[in-house]
């Protein structure tokens, strides 16, 4: 870039554990040229895998088996390449867990890849997928302009009293063990959108952000625009119950299962990350949306749903105490946005914490940012579709501008 304001098209790849969102964003205008999402990638669900591809308001839905993320990306590239007038200059990847190596966006080089390789075990569901996608892009397109943007940077501000684990000090020091927190891009985005929507200054607000996805989910306590706690920990395994991740459990169980089932550490990790959560209990699907479809006629579905809701409520209660009551409660990501019954059940009997939902507004919500709280609710309850891709593009563009300034 020769000029600080040169237009640049960034292909943002936002890889979830079972999805791959993509956007071609023209910066600095933040104009979305192409957007789409591959859903139900590499998982067992009741519905077929799809790619939804949108350009100039025209939507195409392609049903196709998507055995893994590389297959999905190949198909996405084919779709993008069909658009002759749209080219992208840079690929930016959301990278979940950079360990203690990076706390700001980084251009991918050979030495960066070497460091990223060391982080693969830290987020075994996400990091290997993105790492392979970066390598895939490099191999297929000899594409050198790739950036990695990290989901952990927003949580740098979590104070030691919430980030420190009750483990031996020497281990903490040696391995950098602490609550790192995840979904930072999403939590930051919805926090900024909420303050903009309510015309409030973020430096005065106490916010609880619920990022409830079909893959991973986390809750974040935000004070004065800064993350003060996040339900995920050193890895994205801690916290809420997720599609295939167990979330918070008694650690004694891990040793007990290993002993009883003769499991190696790798096998135990695989069970906790990939065979637990919604899938573990519901068995036929890992998608809470499938569970919700069955809650009226399937006892097990009802129990899974109740388990999920209870855990979200517990974190909202805890974070309300940390924040000394919240000003804003946000629901985001696919489950947070698409499932009114989930929001209803989570907000039920939460008047003590100042949370009171307006049922009519909740059920009539459709698509954009909206306030679904009752007029007498002390806490404003907002539904905000997340846009991690815009945050990723912003961060990469800021990084590029810094590099230009340095030149």
């Amino acid at each position: 870039m020769k000029s600080n304001n040169k237009q640049i098209n960034i292909l943002v790849l936002n890889c979830g554990s079972s999805s791959l969102k993509y956007k071609v964003i023209s910066m600095p205008k933040e104009e979305i040229l192409i957007t789409g999402e591959a859903q139900r990638v590499g998982i067992k669900t009741e519905n077929a895998s799809t790619i939804t591809h949108i350009i100039s308001g025209k939507k195409k839905v392609i049903k196709s088996p998507l055995a893994n993320h590389s297959t999905a990306l190949k198909k996405i590239f084919n779709l993008i390449n069909q658009e002759k007038n749209i080219k992208f200059d840079i690929i930016a990847h959301r990278y979940v867990h950079p360990g203690n190596y990076f706390n700001r966006p980084v251009r991918v080089t050979k030495s960066v890849l070497t460091k990223l390789k060391k982080t693969l075990p830290l987020a075994p569901i996400h990091n290997p997928i993105v790492y392979n996608l970066i390598k895939f892009c490099h191999k297929e397109f000899t594409f050198k302009n790739q950036y990695a943007v990290f989901d952990t940077s927003f949580h740098k501000t979590i104070p030691p009293k919430y980030s420190t684990y009750a483990l031996p000090g020497e281990l903490i020091k040696k391995y950098g063990l602490r609550r790192i927190g995840f979904h930072g891009l999403s939590h930051r985005y919805v926090m900024e959108e909420a303050c903009r929507f309510l015309k409030r200054n973020k430096s005065t607000q106490r916010i609880i952000s619920c990022h409830l996805g079909t893959g991973g989910s986390s809750i974040c306590a935000i004070r004065e625009g800064k993350s003060v706690n996040n339900s995920m920990g050193f890895t994205p395994l801690e916290g809420l119950m997720m599609n295939t991740r167990c979330g918070d459990i008694d650690l004694g169980i891990v040793f007990y299962i290993m002993f009883k089932e003769f499991l190696s550490p790798d096998e135990a990790e695989n069970i906790l990350n990939k065979k637990s959560g919604v899938l573990g209990i519901f068995n036929t699907s890992s998608d809470l949306r499938d569970v919700i479809k069955n809650i009226n006629n399937d006892k097990q579905a009802k129990m899974v749903f109740n388990m999920y809701v209870r855990r979200v409520k517990a974190y909202i209660g805890f974070y309300s105490l940390i924040l000394k009551k919240a000003d804003i409660l946000i629901f985001t990501d696919s489950l947070g946005v698409e499932e009114p019954i989930l929001r209803k059940e989570i907000c039920e009997n939460m008047e003590l914490l100042g949370i009171k939902l307006d049922e009519r507004k909740n059920y009539s919500y459709c698509g954009k940012i909206a306030d679904i709280s009752s007029p007498d609710s002390e806490v404003r309850i907002l539904v905000i579709p997340t846009n991690e891709e815009i945050m990723i593009a912003r961060e990469v563009y800021r990084e590029l501008k810094k590099n230009v300034s340095r030149c």
């Binding site: 979330g247 169980i253 299962i257 089932e261 906790l272 209990i281 097990q300 109740n306």
Partner: protein, 190 residues
């Protein structure tokens, strides 16, 4: 006199409760289990504690009752058969406790022996609280669920207050744990 017996893998701990004109006197005794390997040794030890006073009942604090024991129960042979089925959960503790209970049964045939379980108070936790988000087969096959502990403490705390009270009960020993109760039906346990 009433005795309350607690034991771990190494020590036997006994509290004696004796009412007199002066009020209730409580005494604590402890002995290595190795010193009480046979019935005669145990009998001598208990009689040393009770002196010539009649023992009216002996209760036992038992750490784990699984799904079999939802309330305090009289110790007898059918109790022991059920109790020993829990061995797979605590392969050292359950046999040790079972052996001790058998010795007490031999010595005190006419005195009620009552077992109180630390887990009994939590057997009515709602399923969504009891089950972990793990493969469901583990719950069925190897009994992975939230059993809860310190139930005797928490139940005692809950009974101090009227039933319509909502209570948060905190036990702080070396480990800490809290439980919330709603009309004595507890709904969440740390």
């Amino acid at each position: 006199m009433f005795l309350v017996v607690d034991c771990d893998l190494k020590k036997l701990k006994i509290w004696s409760f004796q009412e007199s004109r002066k009020g209730l006197s409580v005494k604590f005794f402890t002995e290595d289990l190795d010193e009480l390997t046979d019935v005669a040794n145990l009998q001598r030890y208990i009689y040393k504690i009770s002196g010539r006073v009649n023992i009216k009942a002996i209760s036992f604090r038992i750490l784990f009752g699984g799904d079999y024991f939802k309330k305090a129960e009289l110790v007898n042979s059918s109790f022991l058969r059920k109790f020993e089925k829990l061995t797979e959960f605590f392969p050292f503790y359950i046999p040790t406790m079972s052996a001790l209970l058998k010795k007490f049964l031999k010595i005190f045939k006419q005195i009620p022996l009552i077992a109180f379980f630390e887990t009994a108070f939590f057997t009515k936790l709602p399923n969504e609280e009891r089950y972990y988000a793990l493969p469901f087969e583990y719950h069925k096959k190897i009994g992975i669920k939230k059993w809860g502990f310190h139930g005797i403490f928490h139940e005692a705390n809950a009974q101090i207050l009227p039933h319509n009270y909502k209570i948060i009960s905190i036990v702080i020993e070396n480990r800490s744990l809290y439980a919330q109760f709603q009309e004595i039906n507890h709904f969440q346990l740390a």
